[in-house]
Amino acid sequence: MKLIKIAAAAAVVAASFTAPAFAEEKMNDLEIAHTAYTAGGLDIRYAHLALALSENDSVREFANVMIRDHSAVNQEAGALIQKLNVTPQDNGLSQALVKGAAEKRAEFVKLSGKAFDCAYAQNELGYHQIVNQTVEGKFIPWATVEPLKALLEDALVTFKAHEKHAENMVNGLHCGS
């Protein structure tokens, strides 16, 4: 599976996830696997952007955690895919995520300093909130293959920790002021 080089946008991602075309249509195991893997790859890509553009310690630390944790989760996913000898299926939700993230990344590379830090931090918070709602409320109930369900449950614990971490990062940056 290729790693998709994109950054993500909470607003666009939120729109994608809540659009009836994606939200109501039940996805199969291979589509869920594809989208979960894609979402992780997008966040890694985004973290690399943060490491390139931010000089803020808390932002850089967060970005490093994202790279470390999402790489570990995607590595497990890759191992599971190999073990089950299946090919994840690209789908509308994966494509919407990739597209939304590309647009957001193009926007973010024009920013620097606090403007970038805040945009990145707020986007990470929104992104993890949406991903977590989707994984918890849809992917886990929809998954039928036991090891995939178990992997998603493990991943959700990690992503929830990220959501909390992102919240702390946003608060610490005082973006409103």
Partner: protein
């Protein structure tokens, strides 16, 4: 592969080697702390001086167990199912956390043997 380490970063060389001698003479026990779902379990562990603690990461996400006040001891990065052992030769309470996920906190209390 388990890694191992010893505490003593804050001790002077002489005091440190003395403690190593003491702990070497005491055949301590090995306790386990599991890192699971972003928590250390048990979060409060009481051991005797010279005992070892083996930290085992059960999460997909890599974690560490790192002494909080001054990095006096540290397991280093533990990937899934990796473990590291730390020997505790100083009496007192060690607060520690995960260097990657700082909200993960726990403590180990070392009592005289």
């Amino acid at each position: 592969m388990p890694r191992s380490g010893k505490i003593g970063g804050a001790l002077s060389g002489a005091a440190f080697s003395l403690m190593l001698t003491c702990s070497a003479a005491f055949a301590g026990e090995t306790h386990q702390v599991f890192i699971e779902k972003f928590e250390f379990a048990p979060a409060n562990l009481t051991i005797k001086r010279g005992d070892m603690v083996e930290f085992v990461n059960k999460d997909i996400a890599p974690h560490t167990a790192t002494e909080e006040s001054d990095y006096l001891w540290d397991t280093g990065e533990l990937a899934k199912n990796q473990s590291a052992r730390i020997e505790f030769s100083e009496i007192g309470t060690s607060n520690y956390f995960c260097a990657f996920h700082p909200h993960m906190k726990a403590e180990i209390t070392v009592t005289p043997n």
